[in-house]
């Protein structure tokens, strides 16, 4: 595991955009809040939802892996995001990826599972504020109305011209997580900032 001195040298995909995101947040007067949540631990888990491994992994993480499509389960510092009928993204605090990975592997035992650290595969953008849904609606074809996409919902979909994992956070005011492939993060940030101009 990287030591702290090294961590200080680490750079997140949107490190250079932080000041622009902060400026857009300030000038919107609360309408829009944009920020990168860098270095979140992300572990991709694939297993048979009907196998004993599903319950065992849930027990080890302290959460039930969500079985309903496009939902998230959140407990303590860990969030499990449904990605497919046999696929989840387990998200935790920065630096916990190896711990999560080994807990999941240990819990699964001999069951055939796939556990992959994907913490750097995507970065996470926070999109919050009272106009957050309006901002996302400029580029997301999903119905984001609270009736259709309230807290606890998630979706893999397209935002602007890139694929994202969209997570509606527990409280409406907490906004959304937008998980985006790191290579697309710069593009998506430029796009969000351009779309946010109207909400200044």
């Amino acid at each position: 595991m990287a030591d702290t001195a090294l961590t200080a040298r680490q750079r997140s995909p949107l490190a250079d955009a932080a000041h622009r995101l902060a400026a857009a947040t300030r000038s919107s007067g609360g309408a829009i809040r944009l920020a990168e949540l860098p270095f979140l631990a992300q572990v991709n888990v694939r297993l048979d939802a009907k196998s004993p491994a599903a319950d065992a992994v849930g027990l080890a993480l302290g959460i039930q892996l969500p079985l309903e499509p496009n939902t998230v389960v959140h407990a303590g510092e860990v969030t499990a995001v449904w990605l497919g009928p046999d696929e989840w993204l387990v998200v935790g605090r920065p630096g916990t990826q190896r711990d999560l990975e080994s807990r999941i592997r240990a819990a699964a035992g001999d069951e055939p599972v796939s556990v992959v650290d994907v913490s750097a595969q995507r970065t996470t953008l926070l999109v919050a504020g009272r106009r957050a849904r309006d901002l996302l609606a400029h580029g997301c074809a999903l119905d984001l109305h609270p009736r259709a996409f309230g807290p606890g919902r998630c979706a893999q979909t397209t935002l602007a011209r890139t694929q994202v994992v969209l997570v509606a956070r527990d409280e409406a005011r907490a906004g959304f997580w937008v998980l985006v492939r790191s290579s697309f993060a710069g593009y998506l940030t430029d796009w969000l900032l351009d779309a946010a101009v109207e909400y200044r």
């Binding site: 991709n44 499509p69 994907v118 979909t157």
Partner: protein, 1070 residues
């Protein structure tokens, strides 16, 4: 945009899915046992039925699951979706067709006292008072704001209008009716209508920003507007449009299109039900036709207030719904700041595209009045009767002083009476009907002469109409002439059924109405009001309210009975269907004013044997102008019907296609232009490459450093320098863009054995193998390395451009053919940053940064990988080479990539470490004859063609592509092989794509082509140019001389082995 239901994620836009061809075509159990014909049938033959068809789809942008769908190929309806492995459902019902409710027509004349609905500005016996600077403007009335005068310029002349005017109404207020002359004949034309149907008054906006071809009747006036009238085509701006444009996705239970009486009633019925309602209207103000008739505006205001107060109702003004697509997906354009001119705020998009997905749609789009084909029916001063009424009530403008009204139906009488009351001298109402009924009595009692059974036969006047000739309908004798400056025409009403038709709805001709009205449709759409053929206001309101209520109740909400205004019943006499009026003078009778198409033009078309309105439309261009034949389309069908002697109902109308109104490309592009035109993918080191002065190359969506020019270097010099550094010293490049897939599970090796042509199961943990992946037809699809991380875990790399396709490929086979395999594939492309360290001094550089790593050749052999720390960073180091030199690929977290890059730069400095780009990478690999999939291959090339038989397993019983290598086509001796080419002139450069021929002189065509150049470079190591080429029977031609036509010369080239540098492989181990 279709809505496809993923069995897991539910309905999503079609754009999230990938099509996978016919379903239930299993991979043969034993391909080797099949004949060539049976195998070819599996490879190349698929059903192509009309009707239900079972297909594979992948929810590519969502859960990445493959599933099956039954789609009707004739209607595009998805009839069923089901998971992979499930059987095809047996019985499938197509979507029900919903018939439009028929409008109830008034049974006959109703006799009630008609109270004049509105007081008209300056009305009465007194001559109306008018404003001095705007001689045709009334002092009171209308919806304009007299406190906000606006200055504007047309064709160099300055005028004044008011906020609330259109450019057309302001011009009319100033006494200007003339538009540009007509496109073909140069005839004077004038403002003909008051809305989107305008064929004549098309203008070019000059300031603040040039915009071509806008009807003056739809341009909201703003201060400082500068326009010129436009005969024919407009002029695009030469500089980029500085305005912002954007798009919004919206969802609703009910979309109501049109905020006239029917649309307002529909929205009002739904407003408080809790359903999500969008009401869209193209005008700045709600009210629709009521704004033009001046009736019930208090009800409009009250309804507007209630809609605006309803929490789930969104009212979109200045918003034209222009397209109605599959599954109730509608596109609309909202003009947000155009009406503000130079005052438009820069941070608000000028226009916005609304992409609306509606559960239900009510189309309340109203009707357009149509013209009649009589002699010289195009002079300035000829205007639609309802439009003149609109100018009066909405804009307080009198479009003329003395008028004749020419009608075939009742609706013109109200216009005539209102205009007369406002001070226009109505010389006569000319009605083709022999017995025009109660409305004619009203007109007569108002002192207006009514000529029943008469028609207008001709007009006079140049710059403006001066006289109208009238005769009994169908006769030329008994002619009378009226000196007037305005001729109001009312030839009947065309329901605006464009969107309904775009939605797949069918139209039928209603004899009683003399109009095409909506019939049935497969989509959840209902048409209400005049668009449905209801022309009586009380019926319009009732239809709207009922349609709105039905829509929300179908979605499970409870509708309100909205407050509707009390409408006095109106007398009704059936209209007369008239299209043409005979002319004895041979004067042109225009059908399509915008395209200058006359009755005679249509007669020539039918005379040439054309029998369909689709054909006469294309032959004459009638209906193809910017106005899309709104006033002339039905007229053209009617004229063609008369010419052919068939009823118009048998002819129908040409097909309506989106967009309903012209939409600019800038609007459609929205935010997707400039830097945001297409996503740019960057690696963690991108910023550093920019600082290094790299020139970038687009590889897919990635930006990759192409080369790093130093001061004054051109590309050729820079690349030669970078190549030399890699071959003689040490060089490094960012290889992070390579696709990476983690393959994990007990059956991982089984999967890879089936997908790669070579054997992967024998690869030892800690080692790496190059692999080729083919399609079932045996053609190369991708290549890369396979790293065995553990007995049940591999890391597969793909080419940069193919990463997503390879992962989809793996998932498709796993999910649809081999669900029993216990293995999963996960993309980790961005989880790793990769730096290639290349050259004879690379071992020294790596050794200095990785103290724990034994870098000696015996400890760390070729095609091995090690986990260690490099520059204090956790790293996986692979000893692989794409250049033939001693080389390493160092994989670290992208969060640490910059630290690694800087450390390598520093540690390599004593050896002159040089960053290199993709061009140098290409040269180095080409010198070694390593092909690039997609550059040296094109989907018709087998591994054997590339000289890579060594990578095709002979031991495996089967793998994807194996059976195809026994096909006659793949064992032909004259297949194209990858070979090297050496131009005889070592400085001659062969452009990629250059053909190769056998002889030094070109024979007469067709010239036999032997192949083509796929890659071409200048080599520092070879001191000359060289190329790779695909050449027929190329390996048997090594040493032969061929010719390459370049420009007008045939350059002699020698065929060589593709491996031109270090064929012994002596440099690989340093």
């Amino acid at each position: 945009m279709l809505l496809i239901s993923c069995p897991w994620c539910g309905p999503r836009d079609e754009a999230e899915f990938h099509y996978g061809g016919q379903a239930h075509v299993p991979y043969p159990e034993e391909p080797a046992a099949l004949t060539d014909e049976e195998w070819a049938r599996y490879l190349f033959f698929r059903d192509n039925p009309k009707g239900p068809f079972a297909e594979r789809w992948s929810h590519a942008a969502g859960c990445r699951r493959w599933f099956n769908a039954v789609r009707d190929t004739a209607t595009n309806e998805i009839l069923a979706v089901y998971k992979a492995g499930e059987p095809r459902p047996k019985t499938l019902e197509p979507r029900p067709v919903t018939a439009q409710p028929r409008s109830v027509q008034p049974a006959g004349p109703a006799f009630e006292d008609e109270a004049r609905s509105v007081p008209i500005g300056g009305a009465g016996a007194e001559p109306p008072a008018r404003l001095g600077s705007q001689p045709h403007r009334l002092v009171t009335g209308g919806r304009i704001d007299r406190d906000e005068p606006l200055a504007f310029t047309l064709d160099g002349t300055q005028y004044q209008g008011y906020r609330g005017d259109t450019l057309a109404s302001a011009l009319l207020a100033n006494g200007v009716i003339a538009a540009a002359t007509s496109i073909k004949f140069g005839r004077p034309r004038g403002i003909f209508s008051a809305g989107v149907e305008e064929p004549n008054a098309v203008v070019q906006i000059e300031a603040p920003f040039p915009e071509p071809m806008l009807p003056a009747t739809t341009v909201e006036l703003y201060d400082g507007l500068v326009a010129s009238s436009l005969p024919g085509q407009g002029r695009l701006a030469t500089e980029p449009d500085p305005a912002r444009y954007d798009a919004v996705h919206a969802h609703c239970d009910l979309l109501v299109v049109g905020a006239g009486p029917a649309g307002l009633a529909a929205a009002a019925a739904a407003a408080r039900s809790g359903a999500r309602v969008i009401l869209a209207d193209d005008q700045p103000e709600l009210g629709g036709s009521l704004l033009g008739t001046g009736e019930h505006l208090d009800w409009v205001a009250g309804t507007r207030a209630r809609l605006e107060a309803a929490p789930e109702v969104r009212v979109l003004r200045r918003t034209s719904v222009f397209g109605h697509y599959d599954d109730n997906h509608l596109l609309a354009v909202e003009r947000r700041t155009s009406h503000l001119g130079a005052q438009a705020p820069a941070d608000v998009s000028r226009e916005r595209v609304w992409r609306i997905r509606a559960r239900r749609v009510v189309l309340a789009t109203g009707a357009h009045e149509r013209s009649l084909a009589f002699g010289d029916n195009d002079r300035p001063g000829v205007m639609l009767a309802s439009s003149a009424r609109t100018y009066l009530h909405r804009y307080a403008v009198l479009p003329g002083r003395h008028a004749v009204v020419f009608t075939t139906n009742d609706s013109a009488y109200a216009a005539a009476l209102d205009l007369a009351a406002a001070g226009v001298d109505i010389a006569a109402i000319v009605d083709t009907r022999p017995e025009p009924g109660e409305w004619a009595e009203r007109a007569r009692s108002a002192g207006i002469e009514v000529l029943a059974g008469h028609a207008v036969t001709g007009t006079e006047g140049e710059a403006r109409l001066t006289a109208v000739a009238v005769a009994p309908h169908g006769e030329s004798a008994g002619q009378r002439e009226f000196a007037v400056d305005l001729l109001l025409v009312a030839g009947g009403w065309n329901p605006v059924a464009h969107l309904f038709s775009q939605a797949g709805g069918k139209l039928r001709h209603d004899e009683a109405l003399g109009a095409f009205v909506p019939d049935d449709c497969r989509q959840a759409v209902e048409v209400a009001g005049s668009a449905n053929g209801a022309f009586d206001l009380s019926a319009v309101l009732a239809e709207g309210a009922a349609a709105g209520a039905r829509a929300v109740e179908a979605e499970g909400y409870t509708a309100d009975a909205p407050a509707l205004p009390a409408v006095a019943a109106q007398p009704h006499t059936p209209p007369m269907q008239v299209f043409t009026v005979p002319t004895s003078t041979g004067a042109p009778r225009f059908v399509d004013l915008q395209r200058d198409v006359t009755v005679d033009d249509l007669a020539r078309a039918t005379g040439a044997g054309l029998r369909s309105v689709e054909h006469t439309k294309r032959y004459t261009t009638a209906g193809t102008g910017g106005d899309q034949g709104r006033t002339g389309g039905v007229l053209a069908s009617g004229v063609v019907g008369e010419l052919l002697g068939v009823d118009i109902s048998a002819l129908g109308l040409p097909t309506f296609r989106p967009p309903y109104t012209p939409v600019s490309f800038a609007t459609l592009a929205g935010r997707d232009r400039g830097a945001l035109h297409d996503p740019i993918r960057t690696t963690a080191l991108h910023g550093r490459h920019v600082e290094h002065g790299a020139v970038f190359e687009n590889v897919g969506q990635w930006k990759r450093p192409w080369y790093y020019p130093r001061d004054g270097e051109d590309m050729e010099t820079a690349v030669l320098r970078e190549c030399r550094a890699a071959r003689e010293g040490v060089a490094f490049m960012d290889a992070s863009t390579l696709g990476k897939i983690d393959v994990q599970g007990p059956d991982a090796a089984v999967l890879l054995d089936r997908l790669y042509t070579n054997m992967m199961s024998t690869l030892k943990v800690g080692m790496i193998r190059y692999g080729v992946m083919c399609r079932p037809d045996g053609m190369v699809f991708d290549d890369g390395t396979v790293i065995r991380l553990a007995p049940d875990r591999f890391l597969v790399t793909t080419t940069t451009g193919n990463a997503a396709a390879v992962l989809d490929w793996m998932e498709e086979w796993l999910q649809t053919e081999w669900p029993e395999l216990k293995v999963h594939c996960t993309s980790v492309t961005e989880q790793w940053a990769t730096v290639a360290l290349v050259g004879p001094r690379s071992r020294a550089v790596l050794g200095s940064l990785a103290p724990e790593l034994a870098v000696g050749n015996d400890d760390f052999p070729f095609m091995a990988w090690r986990e260690t720390t490099v520059a204090g960073v956790d790293a996986r180091v692979c000893r692989i080479s794409f250049s033939g030199e001693l080389a390493y690929e160092i994989n670290v977290s992208p969060w640490d990539a910059l630290a690694l890059w800087e450390a390598l730069y520093e540690a390599g400095a004593p050896y002159g470490i040089t960053p290199y780009g993709t061009e140098t990478m290409h040269v180095l690999r080409a010198e070694k004859g390593y092909p690039i999939v997609g550059q040296d291959t094109d989907g018709t090339v087998t591994p054997q063609d590339l000289g890579m038989s060594w990578a095709v397993s002979k031991k495996k019983p089967d793998f994807i592509g194996k059976r195809s290598y026994a096909r006659a086509d793949t064992v032909r001796p004259d297949r194209k092989h990858l070979v090297g080419l050496l131009p005889e002139d070592p400085a001659a450069f062969l452009p990629e794509g250059t053909h190769l021929v056998a002889d030094s002189e070109l024979p007469a065509p067709p010239v036999p082509m032997l192949g083509h150049v796929t890659s071409s470079y200048r080599s520092a190591a070879l001191g000359r140019t060289f190329a790779l080429a695909l050449v027929k029977g190329g390996r048997d031609r090594i040493g032969e001389r061929l010719y390459a036509p370049v420009g007008d010369r045939l350059l002699p080239v020698t065929v060589a082995s593709p491996v031109l540098y270090d064929p012994e492989g002596a440099r690989r181990d340093g």
